[in-house]
């Protein structure tokens, strides 16, 4: 059921010719008691999916903004188990799909199977693990599949054609297309080859392709989104959320992606 919720969202976006806007926040940044307010704010601002980051002591895929958010969350004493419990409590009030973005170690410590069960109870649609490539995925994707949760896969600018085909074979939920060589965080612009890259993988893919890393403005979101099925914005939203600037978040979201309000009405 959980994975279907996300598939339905993408389907209704597609039917209206719209793009997905996936908003990332760090769970527990500002305290776990704020999570519900933050998630409802993202929904009201027009996000189509929420990507919820799980704080980790050594986030090697993340740039300075998300690293700092993770440190703040850890300082609040937030744990993966605590986040899943809070999500389970508030899930019925959130209409849009939720995916978790977590490094492998907190999941391994909890246990891959107990994690999948708790994530299912928390209504999670998908899981993104930036340090788990295809080669090591089975241990985690096995239990997640049993609970009907999608394990989201990555394609990057350095992925070869053969690799792209390998990743697409059996992809679930959506493909996370990394737009830069490097970590998360704002960029002034993108490689010229990016748009061709996005269009060619979108053409090859059976599931939607969403682009993320380095997208931090309304115009970038609109531009990048026009070459695939959606965009993921992280660091900029984390900054705005810290300032509780919901209008600022709203202003980031292009018209072309804004269906959530209609969908939830």
């Amino acid at each position: 059921m959980s994975r279907m919720k996300m598939e339905q969202t993408f389907e209704s976006l597609g039917n209206e010719g719209k793009k997905a806007f996936i908003a990332y926040i760090m769970a527990g940044d500002g305290g776990l008691s704020n999570l519900k307010h933050q998630m409802l704010s993202l929904e009201a601002a027009g996000a189509s999916v929420i990507e919820l980051g799980i704080p980790f002591s050594d986030p090697v895929a993340d740039g300075p903004v998300i690293q700092a958010a993770g440190r703040r969350a850890l300082a609040e004493g937030v744990t993966l188990r605590g986040i899943l419990a809070e999500l389970a409590r508030i899930k019925d009030e959130i209409s849009i799909p939720v995916v978790l973005m977590t490094y492998a170690n907190p999941v391994l410590r909890l246990g891959a199977a107990p994690f999948a069960e708790l994530a299912s109870k928390a209504g999670v649609s998908g899981v993104i693990m930036p340090d788990v490539p295809l080669e090591e995925a089975e241990e985690f994707s096995g239990p997640l599949t049993a609970y009907d949760i999608a394990m989201i896969r990555f394609i990057t600018l350095s992925s070869s054609k053969a690799r792209i085909r390998e990743v697409m074979e059996g992809a679930e939920g959506f493909i996370y297309a990394v737009t830069v060589r490097g970590t998360t965080g704002a960029r002034d612009g993108f490689d010229e080859s990016l748009y061709d890259h996005l269009e060619s993988i979108s053409k090859m893919s059976d599931v939607p392709v969403c682009a993320g890393f380095g997208i931090s403005t309304h115009d970038q979101a609109e531009e990048v989104g026009s070459h695939c099925d959606g965009v993921i914005v992280g660091s900029r939203i984390v900054e705005l959320m810290q300032e509780n600037d919901i209008d600022g978040i709203k202003a980031l979201i292009p018209e072309s992606t804004d269906v959530a309000i209609n969908a939830s009405n």
């Binding site: 050594d58 895929a61 391994l108 930036p130």
Partner: protein, 401 residues
Amino acid sequence: MEQTYKQPNESGHYGDFGGRYVPETLMGAIKELEAEYKEAQHDEVFQQQLDHYLKDYVGRESPLYFAEELTAKAGGAKIYLKREDLNHTGAHKINNTIGQALLTRKMGKKKVVAETGAGQHGVATATVCALLKLECVIFMGKEDVKRQELNVFRMELLGAKVVSVDQGRGTLKDAVNEALRYWVANVEDTHYILGSVMGPHPFPQIVRDFQSVIGRETKEQILDKEGRLPDAVVACIGGGSNAMGMFHPFIDDKDVRLVGVEASGHGIESGQHAASLNEGHIGILHGSKMHLLQDEAGQVQEAYSISAGLDYPGIGPEHSYLKDIGRAEYAHVTDEEALEAFRSLSYTEGIIPALESAHAVFHAEKMAAEMSPDDILVICLSGRGDKDVAQIKAREEGREL
């Protein structure tokens, strides 16, 4: 004799450990590295170059020295020292950096990134980059930059750029995080010279193989001197590269005890230590599954040891495997005990050991005392202690560096 021990498997796993837990951006590079390394193993020109530099530049082979005075002091087994401290740059680290720098050149890459804790691996990397004209960036934790000022100067003298890392506690773990981030962003033209038997496959294997020259030489030398294999080999463990280099050629020789010595810092019960194999839980960090110091929620804990080279919360995955199958045993030694051995080896044998190696010396003396005079024990003396004397002097004077 055909080796029966064959690890890792095709996918880079050592039993339940190892693997390739890296961002997708790096998968291409580590698969390329794996292919290039396989080729290099059978490439005569590459092997000749490696042998040439190991012999004439590093100064191999390193002596296997019968430590008569230490043997008398311990009052048991005959103790030999494998003198890796006599290598160029003063430690075993260069066995690996010279090999990986040659690989970098073979892959057509012109730039190198590396992490360093105390600065030994950083200096060994900067050294070979100067030699082979590779551009070199070294990430080093802010605290370590302060504690090892002279090594920072050495690296800069050798032409490397040293970047101080202001994340976390500013030690080795944070330097590895930052080096990995840098590698993700620059992977097209940059090779990451990892300094220990850690990280994603094929790094643990590559570093082990380049370090195995330690164990291979030891085997030949002891057969030459004693006509038989030792009863035990002992080495200190941070990430575990000198130990793995010593152990690997002996794994099939079941009568040779393989003993790794971890740093227990202020003592296991204090919680301030670096004893990942003794106290860690199975975890995933920096590309590999291994024993890892972490809390109940899977957050990685800071390791502590007086010796910056052992101050790492993880451990090479092959050590996790050797422990799991019971082929190697892993002891631990505190700061105070290591300091005692640091002094005693200095005045007994006239050899000032690295603080890291002093951990192995302390435990080996204890073992030797319980063994018979007919027994033979080899200590891997992984590095010399010159780098540590300022820190120890300051400690004695009641200043902390």
